[in-house]
Symmetry: C2
Subunit: 345 residues, 2 copies
Amino acid sequence: MNKERKQTNISELGEFGLIDRLTKAVTIKNESTVKGIGDDAAILDFKNKQVVVSSDLLTEGIHFNLMYVPLKHLGYKAVVVNLSDIYAMNAIPKQVTVSMAVSGKFSVEALEELYEGIHLACEQYNVDLVGGDTTSSLTGLTLSITAIGEAEKDDIVMRSGAKPNDILCVSGDLGGAYMGLQLLERENEVFKVNENMQPKMDGYDYILERQLKPEARGDIIAAFKRLGIKPTSMIDISDGLSSEIMHLCKNSGVGCSLFEDKVPMDYQTKQMAEELNINPLVAALNGGEDYELLFTLPLDDYDKIKNDPDFTVIGHMTEAGEGVNLQTTGGSSIPLEAQGWNHGK
Amino acid sequence: MNKERKQTNISELGEFGLIDRLTKAVTIKNESTVKGIGDDAAILDFKNKQVVVSSDLLTEGIHFNLMYVPLKHLGYKAVVVNLSDIYAMNAIPKQVTVSMAVSGKFSVEALEELYEGIHLACEQYNVDLVGGDTTSSLTGLTLSITAIGEAEKDDIVMRSGAKPNDILCVSGDLGGAYMGLQLLERENEVFKVNENMQPKMDGYDYILERQLKPEARGDIIAAFKRLGIKPTSMIDISDGLSSEIMHLCKNSGVGCSLFEDKVPMDYQTKQMAEELNINPLVAALNGGEDYELLFTLPLDDYDKIKNDPDFTVIGHMTEAGEGVNLQTTGGSSIPLEAQGWNHGK
């Protein structure tokens, strides 16, 4: 938070004054947005498209720690995380609503920083902020975002269409966001012990950015169009590769063989893992928050993607009876287990 | 909370197990719902209709007190409040997404009670629960609901169309929800002092229901259709009559004359106000949570509604320069002030 800026108590503006101030920069970018903020509801018109809708809730202390997450980054990430769900349907996000509950510890200027991030994400991804709710809470900050997107009916990709022998692909690389979080937590612990210690984060800009300012892969959806590809199933990686593979398999009624040595990881991810004595594969499988796209393609489409550095083939789908297995570099096959909320993450 | 029911810790089910259990009763009721819960996003198809979207966030300790609000009622009300926003656009709600953050103090059974209320509201208003997010929080319960509705383009009513000389009308009666809350708070205070005291709520079932189980006025939207009426402006009464009149006036660029003796109030509302030594008009003007519809009509439509007991004409719109005024029973005209969040409500 910028300490130089004047700090205004929210009660000086009131609810409507606050909303006006936070949303005055909003201009409508999409034809499907007929009416945005300022009435009981937003009005949207998608003509003959289908509409996709996704909601997420982020709470302080669980999904973010304001000790090391700047509010502007939080606002940006909160929007991006939802857009990622829309892209995971092979759809294009068009609108978001943002609701927030804030306690008295936040000033108007702090919320403006949060909204700077929200506006920046809307700008970056060409979506319109069309509504929401601003209210108070007894403790902390809660953000709730709903994203709305559109697609031609025939373009939409669900989790349920994977077939045995389809290849399993992922965009980008995995585990970085988790290792970035480990780094932030380590430095935060050091800071708590000695406030004069400078954080040691040199050379780890990539994994910090993966954690603090992730991007949603709209470019991959554009690449699918360009390459004439329609995945048979798709999901975004929010909980970790294991969990998402299990979702695809369960929803599609298939099994999967995942190859350990194919899982793409950045050099910094591996470096940080080594420094913290963590197996980097665990970060990729269970870390989550990578917001990459995991999808399946018919084997025939392999030639279309094999030379594209944005895609990595990491396995293939099998008959359901064969289960979901990790083929290790050591040559053994072990059942994959999804981790997530169950494990206190 | 039913103390007889087995209490299951949420961690026993995990996030996905919990969502499955809470949403297993969901069946799709609307043609516009192509795909509901279970993918990255819901898929909706509105053909040539316009889409309206509204979001609300409710936090424990601010919007509800679980000491006297049963979880089932809370779930019901959380949905209804959002549907009310959709009706206030003269549209028909079709889908909702429900996100919640819960702390460890809630059992699976408690959340099932909450969802019983959510499902009941969806059933009652014929809307589909199509998605959301379930996550943990450090303290308390936060609910975020997004409602989606549809309307023909020409049917949609915004806050901005009121003209001078339009009549100002309201459905139902006002102030009841606020007086119901006062009663609940009084009895809760008594209970805190002496747990053996039985709450004294006899004869106040109507205002308790107004507070605990409000309904959204879809019947009024149906009546508009039947009577061949399209309001020039409309809003729902969530913050109180004063605040909502100010919104209509500001958005429409008009003034208003409101007549004190026309404001509809139930006998129980007046009775409770007398018992607690509160001016019942204050409850109607500033109490909020009535979820009635406030709307303006051209004078020519007066004949269509004058005999309908669901509607009350409470004033008329004026030129903006005349301001927003309350005409008291004593014959004086005083400027109306909106109260809301600013006043620590």
